[in-house]
């Protein structure tokens, strides 16, 4: 049961094959077993069990709230949750219990979902590995999969297994690990430069970043307000569409949500025919750093579309290469501004120093933030200084416009969706990852995902195949603004073609044999 998709388990709940409480307890026990993954910062066991009880009553009375009723979900720990500690994996917010729910959290609860807990991340979502939070790094469940371990046994050079675990990617690595390890059926991440799509690709999941303005940011503790979007992590595209259906829509508490009605619910048709589609392949995304495996899968995917009758075009996004440096200026500037509120007065950490207000501010912020956050605050304030503003911030905004226009031009040339890699390669071991600092890693890892946030477009990472090492590789589809449904429809067709294998965690969950019942033969059409 745990290995099923959200859609499948939802059907099982409706048919009474399992009750919400049973499902909740199974997930809770798996959360305990997989504690070493460090996916969760807070497990809200009592809350979840109580919600399950209520859901059970509704099912008994035939008053189910819909597809999400009784479904265990997890939420990244940078979404405000009423009465549940919300830390952003930072000392600054350790012990902070918000008095309100983020709109997206409230919407999930209103649909009857069970909140299993708050998931781990990089401090204030600043990172691409989920390694830089105060609660420690998140371990990629694929490190413990049969697929990966078997490949490693074949490799005579493989070192000690326990110290050689892999990162999840990030910053929503906790959410990705939680879904990937079957502890819940969907999780909320946030996506500012790829923070949902990147860990999705590394953990073999669907990672969806909706159009900016489609889903409310109210209650999402901001990284970059003008780029942040709540993201969705699920095991398949249909599941992502179900969650999106619950979350999308205008929110009076977020003035940047759009009012134009978008077709709801997000039911995805099964495309029988892609011959009317035009797939764009941005030539600038073919860079030397791209691993040969990913490049090969990317071109095979393009070939697949072509062979099924779709038009595949090479397109140019000439300003994409400036995206990372431009993002650096805009992101740090907004970070400097957004972090100004953490002064130890109203909430969160406060130091013991009280010789003066300024000294108290300084010590509080020094103790509360890690090096990465402090570094970004410092750069951001530099860029916003009167003498620098024109040269950095304004310039970066202009470049941002050019990047966004690149996409508009590509779509205007007749392209329906763009197909790109999500990451340069598969997940790397933690010890490998930390050889470079957070800034270098973020710049490398966001390279294919970041420009999308600049333009506010919808994008989704779809797991495609396992690498030679037995690790997942994802490809990214990018759609027109507010054409989220079309994007997911194409992604769904593609997902069906590639038949990505289910993660085999039987050693990990020895007595959770239910996981295996859904195991499909690893018949990957794109397998190398």
């Amino acid at each position: 049961m745990l290995g099923r998709t959200l859609q499948e388990v939802s059907a099982a709940l409706k048919q009474g094959q399992i009750t919400p409480t049973e499902l909740c307890q199974k997930c809770l026990s798996l959360i305990k077993k997989t504690k070493f993954l460090n996916a969760y910062i807070t497990v809200s066991e009592e809350v979840a069990l109580k919600q399950a009880e209520e859901s059970e009553k509704r099912y008994k009375n035939g008053q189910s709230l819909g597809d999400l009723d009784g479904i265990p979900v997890a939420v990244k720990d940078n979404f405000s949750t009423s009465g549940i500690e919300t830390t952003c994996a930072s000392n600054m917010l350790k012990g902070y219990i918000p008095p309100y729910n983020a709109t997206v959290v409230q919407k999930l609860l209103d649909q009857g979902a069970l909140l299993m807990g708050k998931t781990n991340l990089d401090e204030f979502a600043m990172g691409s590995g989920s390694t830089d939070g105060i609660f420690g790094p998140v371990k990629n469940p694929w490190s413990y999969s049969k697929q990966y371990r078997e490949k490693r046994k074949q490799n005579p050079h493989s070192k000690n297994e326990d110290s050689d675990w892999l990162i999840t990617g990030g910053s929503s690595g906790g959410s990705a690990a939680a879904v990937s390890a079957f502890t819940c059926y969907a999780a909320l991440g946030s996506d500012t430069g790829g923070s949902t799509r990147n860990p999705a690709a590394h953990c073999g999941l669907v990672g969806f970043k909706p159009s900016y303005g489609l889903v409310s940011r109210h209650g999402l503790i901001p990284l970059v307000n003008s780029m942040d979007v709540p993201g969705i992590l699920t095991r398949c595209v249909d599941d992502a569409a179900i969650v999106l259906g619950a979350l999308a829509g205008p929110d009076p508490k977020d003035s940047t949500t759009v009012h134009d009605p978008i077709n709801k619910p997000f039911m995805l048709p099964s495309l029988a025919d892609v011959s009317k589609l035009c797939i764009g392949i941005p030539k600038e995304y073919l860079i030397p750093e791209l691993s040969s495996e990913v490049r090969s899968l990317w071109s095979k995917a393009a070939d697949l579309f072509k062979s099924e009758g779709a038009k595949v075009l090479e397109v140019s996004l000439p300003h994409t290469s400036y995206s990372i440096v431009c993002y650096h200026v805009l992101c740090t500037s907004e970070v400097a501004s957004n972090m100004a509120r953490f002064d130890g007065l109203q909430y969160g950490h406060r130091c013991d120093i009280n010789v003066s207000t300024e000294a108290m501010y300084a010590a509080t912020r020094r103790e509360g933030f890690n090096d990465v956050v402090r570094g970004r605050i410092l750069s951001g304030n530099f860029f916003l200084l009167k003498e620098n503003y024109e040269n950095y911030f304004v310039k970066a905004q202009k470049v941002r416009r050019l990047i966004a226009n690149d996409f508009v031009n590509a779509f205007n040339s007749g392209v329906d969706v763009l197909l790109t890699p999500t990451t340069l390669s598969e997940a790397v071991p933690y010890l490998e990852f930390i050889k470079e600092d957070n800034r270098t890693r973020s710049a490398q890892d966001d390279i294919f995902t970041q420009a999308v946030n600049m333009a506010g477009l919808p994008a989704v990472s779809i797991p495609v195949a396992l690498s030679n090492q037995g690790l997942p590789i994802g490809l990214q589809f990018i759609g027109r603004a507010f054409c989220d449904q079309q994007l997911l429809t194409v992604a769904k067709w593609f997902e069906k073609q590639v038949q990505f294998p289910v993660i085999q965690l039987q050693e990990l969950m020895d007595d959770c044999s239910a996981v295996l019942e859904n195991e499909k033969s690893a018949s990957v059409s794109l397998k190398q």
Partner: protein, 531 residues
């Protein structure tokens, strides 16, 4: 009063930290030189745009002062600029604070329609160009009563620009002549108010009240077209009347609903402008005039004595009547302005640009607001002059006292007396009594009806002018009697029986033969001896 702490996380920490700098000026250095001299030196400058030094020397230049004002008016609205919390003066500390006002992480601003309408109204009343598109920015600084670490304001593109404010300055021998003057308005911008810091020096702690945090403000920026304290005071008074007539702000300075900062410099006419200082903490119109005149004279003295004016912020100490530097330790502040990413551009419409089928709840139509503008003070004055034939300066006085115009109009409604008579009684007798006892119009013991009745009796010659004054004095005692009752009780009616009057005259003449003689000799003043 100690404010309850605002804490969302229940850990037992005291709401206390060291005092915030900048709150008190009495600890700071006074300007060099004797303060009292400066105060004395200031007395003559009020009406004189050109200044001379105290010790005139040969061939010396005259000084001219340049004064610009930044006025913050709290918008009169039910809720705050970006949150749903109520706006109320003197509510218990921290009782009107939403999650957004306390800047809880993840909260977002939502613009209050009423505040936008108030800004448009005020802009129109001040002859401004209303920008169809305006933007919000963040202005950053750390301060304990600014929970987000930044204020949302309109730095780049404000809602209204390029207006003007016409006000009247009294001149002439008796200050009875009104000279119209105009000050240009640079811009009007919407912005958030901050909270309040209450410094407890004894326990060396600061208490924060966030009730005011996030209340909508209109910042009205005047061009430096003013030249002395009186002009500034009169211009601000006129603005206050306009805001009150519009209902966009209660503009009560004592309650902090209208706050003024003044930028002041002096120079020799024909030469470049001098270095300016900014004077803050001006919380009454009287102190505004005093502070500006003090600062002008201080700058002149400083420059005359070979000193130099620093570009600095000063605060007015109303007890000492002087301005004092409130220099920041860190020197120049860089506010690191940045566009507010959570608020889309504010787009306004007029009749021509309004999209067809637009939801009236979602759009603001400038033309529609223009139609609903109430009568502005200048128009009211003109109407008073036209309708009642009163002098312009009288119309100024009528509007300047809160409630006086309404009182006057209520008397007019009920009396047959000439408008001139009514004006004279209201402005001289009635206002005189109020001033003498320091009462507001609303506290007056004499009602408009009573005064109307009294004036009717005077008009119909039932009583004499002298008797009327006597009746008024009786009315002021609040004994609940009508003028009619007082007149009949005190037998103050004029006699109308010709025979009786004749008889009275004869007996008077008989009783005062000397007076009659003197009168016949041509000395009319002799009659005064008859009582």
């Amino acid at each position: 009063m100690a404010a309850p702490m605002l804490r969302w996380v229940g850990r037992g920490r005291r709401w206390t930290f060291a005092r915030v700098d900048g709150g008190s000026c009495h600890r700071r250095e006074a300007p060099t030189g004797s303060t009292s001299n400066r105060i004395r030196g200031r007395s003559s400058v009020a009406q004189q745009p050109l200044y001379t030094t105290q010790k005139p020397r040969k061939g010396e230049h005259k000084w001219a002062a340049v004064v610009g004002l930044e006025i913050h008016a709290q918008i009169s609205s039910n809720s705050k600029l970006f949150s749903g919390s109520q706006v109320r003066f003197s509510a218990p500390p921290n009782s009107l604070v939403s999650f957004f006002d306390a800047s809880l992480p993840g909260t977002l601003p939502v613009l209050n329609r009423r505040c936008v309408e108030a800004a448009v109204m005020t802009g129109l009343a001040l002859n401004c160009h209303i920008n169809k598109k305006s933007l919000f920015d963040r202005k950053h600084y750390f301060y304990a009563d600014l929970p987000a670490g930044y204020q949302i304001t309109q730095q780049r593109l404000p809602i209204a620009v390029n207006g003007s404010l016409t006000y009247g300055v009294c001149a002439g021998k008796k200050q009875s002549q009104v000279i119209p003057k105009t000050v240009r308005i640079k811009q009007i911008q919407l912005e958030q108010d901050s909270g309040k810091s209450l410094h407890d020096d004894l326990r060396s702690q600061t208490l924060i009240d966030l009730n005011r945090a996030g209340v909508g403000l209109l910042e009205v920026v005047l061009e430096p077209d003013l030249s002395c304290g009186e002009e500034a005071a009169t211009a601000v008074r006129e603005l206050q009347l306009i805001l009150q007539a519009l209902g966009t702000s209660q503009a009560n300075m004592a309650e902090g609903q209208l706050r003024v900062d003044a930028n002041i410099s002096v120079h020799h006419p024909g030469e470049p402008l001098g270095v300016r200082t900014e004077v803050k903490n001006l919380n009454s119109i009287r102190f505004l005039a005093k502070a500006i005149d003090y600062e002008i004279q201080r700058q002149i003295n400083e420059l005359e004595n070979g000193g130099e004016i620093l570009n600095e912020t000063r605060s007015f100490h109303y007890q000492l009547g002087c301005t004092m530097s409130m220099r920041d330790k860190e020197g120049k502040q860089d506010y690191r302005f940045m566009p507010e990413p959570n608020l889309p551009p504010l787009v306004l419409y007029d009749a021509t640009s309004l999209p067809a089928g637009a939801d009236p709840q979602q759009v603001i139509n400038i033309d529609q607001i223009r139609e609903t503008l109430p009568e502005l003070p200048s128009v009211t004055r003109e109407r008073l002059v036209q309708q009642y034939g009163m002098l312009l300066e009288h119309s100024f006085t009528l509007l300047n006292e809160v409630g006086l115009l309404e009182f006057f109009q209520n008397v007019m409604k009920e009396t047959r007396a000439e408008p001139k008579k009514v004006t004279s009684w209201v402005l001289n007798t009635f206002l005189g009594y109020l001033k003498q006892q320091n009462l507001a119009v609303s506290e007056s013991p004499v009602t408009p009806s009573a005064l109307a009745e009294l004036l009717d009796m005077l008009d119909s010659r039932t009583i004499s002018s002298a008797a009327a004054k006597q009746v008024f004095e009786e009315l002021w005692k609040r004994e609940g009697k009508t003028p009619g009752q007082i007149v009949s009780e005190k037998q103050l009616e004029l006699m109308e029986d010709r025979g009786a009057l004749e008889q009275l005259c004869h007996s008077m003449m008989e009783a005062h033969p000397q007076v009659v003689m003197d009168l016949k000799k041509g000395n009319p003043r002799a009659i005064r001896r008859v009582r």
